[in-house]
Subunit: 381 residues, 2 copies
């Protein structure tokens, strides 16, 4: 195991009805003026929005709102939120929605405490201050509810970049699996793909692989696969929904990335280029690129690929494990081919250019040259 430093101070309030206490949780952190960030009107139609504002009012917390955050959240919306937060004098941000909403909220929270362009933080500048961040997460996938990262797309430059800083840890994250029942079948399987991607990136790319960490990663993957299948059949299964949600959180809260030394997120790097250019759903892009990347990369770490095949699918050959994952993606109904995402021709060329350009930003240790990117995308056709 390599040396590491770990601290994750997020308080998780997990379970039924927890959202009803959001005002109480926020007032424990002395929040008084909140900006509520959300996506579509789904949260208003479901009644969740009313629950939230009742709780804020009961606890004497004033608020204003900024809705309309979309999947693959964009910088322009973040800037709109920052302006509202500054004008309103917000001391806190409450995200009500999925990872895109929370990531936007995190970016707004640092942007509201900064005079310059918030994009600076996505190009490497370290934020030093943020408004207090709270969230009610309505879609389990990104793990953003228990980490300090945010991913935002700059529409002008087509850069889909991340910023990671301890100031962006949420104070309290509410995870009520019941609120996640309304997630569509499509987004459930995209989410499964996203969590599996979070799990495998370091699992395959890290040179140091403590067995304990391997077991923890495999526990998350097995849980996601098992519960996805249950939920496709029975969307109301609370325990399956709960385990799916908690595995998603555990997959990217830092614990499964400890002691590995260097590792990288090549699938995310490539997929971010895909969704930045084509606006495909992140999880759908990942289920296309993962089997291709795994085929391309497997000889770099053949023993770990064999382990994956055996532990996850009971198979002996590295290649068979990758094919089994692809087949499983097909079974649950998430795309495995570029054509399903309509990433072809000129769009594909642009995606490749963006992917190559973002190599350095993502700290991918092996340089992903044009030749390499061509090879990987060829395998994804």
């Amino acid at each position: 195991m390599e040396n590491f430093s770990f601290c994750n101070p997020v308080r998780v309030e997990f379970g039924k009805d927890k959202e009803k206490n959001i005002g109480k949780y926020m007032s424990e952190f002395e929040a008084k003026k909140a900006l509520i960030i959300y996506g579509s009107n789904r949260i208003k139609n479901s009644g969740l929005f009313d629950v939230v504002i009742s709780s804020l009012k009961e606890n004497g917390i004033e608020f204003t709102v900024c809705g309309g955050v979309k999947s693959n959240p964009v910088l322009s919306k973040v800037k709109e939120g920052i302006e509202i937060a500054k004008k309103y004098g917000a001391d806190s941000i409450l995200a009500v929605g999925g990872g895109s909403v929370l990531d936007s909220a995190k970016a707004i929270s640092v942007g509201a405490c900064y005079d310059g362009d918030v994009w600076d933080f996505f190009l490497g500048k370290k934020p030093v201050k943020a408004l207090k961040i709270f969230d009610i997460i309505t879609l389990a996938a990104t793990g953003s509810e228990m980490n300090s990262g945010a991913v935002i797309t700059n529409e002008d430059t087509l850069q889909k970049y991340s910023c990671i800083s301890p100031v962006m840890f949420p104070k309290v994250s509410v995870i009520n699996p019941e609120l996640q029942k309304s997630v569509s079948r499509e987004y459930l399987v995209y989410s499964a793909s996203d969590v599996i991607a979070h799990s495998i990136e370091a699992y395959f790319t890290a040179k140091n692989r403590p067995n304990l960490i391997n077991l923890q990663v495999e526990a998350n993957i097995k849980t996601i696969m098992r519960t996805t299948e249950i939920l496709l059949d029975k969307p109301d299964d609370y325990n399956a929904r709960a385990e799916f949600a908690w595995a998603a959180t555990m997959a990217l809260n830092g614990l499964t990335h400890l002691g590995l030394g260097g590792y990288s997120f090549p699938n995310h790097m490539i997929e971010h280029a895909m969704s930045a250019v084509s606006d495909c759903p992140h999880g759908a892009g990942l289920s296309v690129i993962m089997p291709a990347w795994m085929m391309w990369y497997r000889d770099n770490n053949i023993e770990q690929f064999k382990r994956f095949a055996y532990e996850i699918f009971g198979l002996n050959e590295a290649k068979d494990g990758i094919l089994a994952l692809k087949k499983w993606f097909e079974k649950i109904g998430t795309p495995t081919k570029l054509s399903e995402l309509k990433i072809e021709g000129e769009i594909l060329d642009e995606v490749k250019n963006v992917a190559i350009n973002s190599t350095k930003k993502y700290g991918v240790t092996e340089f992903y040259s044009k030749k390499v990117i061509d090879e990987i995308f060829e395998l994804a056709k």
Copy 2:
């Protein structure tokens, strides 16, 4: 999964040479006057003490010391430490040693901020304030470095009780596996037993068993068993030492106890009576009582015992899994019979009385009557 609330703000600094920065870590939390708690002179002879005080001096942190903490740490020593801390005006406590030293430090940290008797906190009163707690952990077992609990023995009443409070989370815990190399063979196997006990208590007693949590618990048990065997053969194996240490931390930092609803620690309750009366090593007491308790309890949760047998030992029958664990304890050289601990005759009678009396304190859901305690101890003979 049952509802839960989780927050673990401990910062872990894990790996080689980390203890050299202890002064820096402490000054990040504005520590200026520290009370150093330690056990035997082992830390002086090894040079660790000098490393620590150099780092404190470099960072302008004044200090005083209180040594002599013993295994199964006692209230009188805690009171001595409290008096020193108060007189000295300490703002922080630095524990350098194993779980007994750290638990004493935690108790001192709350006692130093309280005018009454610190034992009040072990009888149910909630502490509201504590000195800042830091530690360099030299023996992996208790998990105290990443939780908010402490266990202290009141020698007058023979109560070995715990206190759990968020104010007792360490600010920074240093875990350098190299410092744990000097742990004796005996204490290594007692530690293995302790971590396995932390793992199985809720695993068997909780009514709600999310599969993800089961997998995480099993990952810790498998890691402890694998690395113990390596370390008995090669005490210098750094990676094995590191995984052992991290599994010990993960086994009791709260994560494997989430979503279970009610559960209890009957093995700990019974063992605490054993070590309070006889002063046997905690881990040695546990390796005696665990197989006995498991045999006695198994029909209450037969499926989970079957799962344990299969996942840990590849066996199909509940009983065989328990026997395999007992055999493994014998193989590594930790006791499995009361006679090995010299707990017999009048001592055994006293142990039984103390165990029955502490039932309520430990929140053991099934009442452990005299008849039950007799039955369990009979199985431990």
